[in-house]
């Protein structure tokens, strides 16, 4: 793996975007352009995954589903414990941030796919299912953690004579919210696009697939470059907010993806027994952090949390870390595991 082979265009464009932001360039992306590319990329990745899945055995997808749920429910709890008990972060912010780290980022996943493509490494079809599944569980865990925290806070307050109103109001509210968020997690636009195009990709025949591949497959990697150029600018915007976030959380934003990655790589290699490419993708999913589906959900479910915290961590720190540094490391580790165990 030479230097020039890890110079993935998409990653370089990400760096260019960050650079543009840091030097305060007037370069700007139309907001709708971002939305369009995202729709396109999600459909592309769904179709591609759906086709691969239709050729794979369905029963062997089950472990992937279980692994996805495990990671999605487990990682936010780990994240919450670290923040609460090591970092002494307040409970509501801890809950909201935890949810982000349990969920995934399709952008990070696609960058990893571009990375593997660039060095011609194959991967299994199942990680794309995990991508679709892992968006939601963490949101539910985030809500449960927030509900739990609210009760604890209320108990503390009432024991010192304060009103327990918030917790009571919160409780009925909490149930409606849970239902609302569960429904939402199935009707969420990006999940629907992913699952929908996976389904379409798996049922259309070869002739039809060939007709749409030039659009959804051939030009995919190029379009991804523009997407990451924009993401670089979005990430760059957040850098100035590091100081508000505090030193512990900044460290957390780098440590947590590594913890997730460790969980992911072990599950991918020892349990799912995927190839190096597949293990890399599972690792990336576990290491990645949501910046699209989870923020609005947490804004609604945990209004007490400070959005600037979770957005800065997710977009400004963990996303760039994974894209610029994480992916090649995760790949290297997957390679090492494959050769040594």
């Amino acid at each position: 793996m030479s230097i020039s082979s890890i110079l993935v265009p998409a990653v370089l464009f990400f760096a260019l975007g960050m650079f543009a932001c840091i030097i305060k360039s007037d370069l700007k992306f139309p907001p709708d352009m971002h939305k369009m590319i995202v729709i396109y990329l999600l459909v592309g990745i769904g179709l591609h995954g759906g086709k691969a899945l239709s050729e794979a055995s369905m029963s062997s997808a089950i472990p992937a589903v279980i692994a996805a749920l495990l990671l999605g429910f487990g990682l936010p709890i780990v994240a919450y414990i670290i923040m609460r008990f090591i970092g002494k972060i307040d409970p509501m912010n801890s809950a909201a941030i935890a949810a982000h780290y349990g969920s995934v980022s399709a952008g990070t996943y696609m960058t990893a796919v571009a990375f593997l493509n660039g060095i011609s490494v194959d991967y299994e079809a199942y990680p794309v299912i995990m991508l679709a599944i892992m968006e939601s569980p963490a949101i539910i865990i985030g809500l449960i953690l927030a509900g739990y925290s609210r009760r604890v806070l209320a108990a503390q307050q009432s024991s010192i004579g304060g009103p327990a109103v918030a917790a009571e109001g919160g409780d009925g509210h909490q149930k409606g919210m849970l239902k609302h968020l569960v429904i939402e997690s199935f009707t969420n636009g990006s999940i629907l696009l992913l699952f929908g195009s996976m389904a379409i990709g798996s049922i259309i025949n070869e002739t039809n697939m060939t007709k749409i591949e030039p659009f959804f497959d051939k030009i995919f990697m190029g379009a991804l470059c523009l997407f990451l150029l924009d993401m670089g600018m979005e990430a760059g915007k957040r850098i100035s907010e590091f100081k508000d976030v505090g030193i512990f959380l900044v460290i957390f934003g780098v440590i947590m993806p590594i913890i997730g990655a460790t969980a992911g790589i072990l599950i991918g290699h020892f349990w799912l027994q995927y190839s190096i490419g597949g293990v890399t993708l599972v690792t990336v999913l576990a290491a990645s952090c949501s910046y699209i589906a989870v923020p609005p959900a947490m804004r609604l479910a945990v209004p007490e949390a400070n959005p600037s915290f979770y957005l800065t961590l997710s977009l400004g720190l963990t996303f760039p870390f994974n894209v610029l540094v994480g992916i090649p490391i995760y790949y290297g580790a997957a390679q090492w595991l494959a050769y040594n165990y």
Partner: protein, 109 residues
């Protein structure tokens, strides 16, 4: 007084800022109390008790609707009764001021 009362109808000017998601409900309320006209601007940004609301944020887009209604004092009162209790629960503001409606062939207040 240059502009005399022949061409002007004194009315109330109501100005409401409301979350994008609550706009549909707002429209239903208007229908219910027979408001005959309003203008709205979608994608307004703002700052208030819930901090910044940025219509173009990638991760957390939050849009305000700014609604302007010219109506009679009577209708304004009905609006206050139907909406004010819910304002700030659902977020936003509700302002009333005086204005004059310049008469034209059709009436939508």
């Amino acid at each position: 007084m240059v502009l005399d009362k022949e061409v002007l109808v004194p009315l109330k000017r109501v100005e409401i800022v409301i979350d994008e998601d609550d706009f549909e409900e707002f429209q239903e309320i208007c229908r219910a109390i027979n408001i005959r006209g309003y203008t709205y601007i979608w994608q307004a940004g703002g700052f208030g008790t819930r901090g910044n609301r940025r219509p173009n944020d990638m991760s957390l887009p939050e849009k305000n609707f700014l609604v302007i209604i010219a109506c009679t004092e009577d209708q304004a009162e009905k609006l206050v009764n139907s909406i004010s209790a819910r304002m700030k629960e659902i977020g936003g503001i509700f302002l009333i001021s005086d204005c004059d409606w310049v008469k034209g062939p059709k009436i939508s207040y």
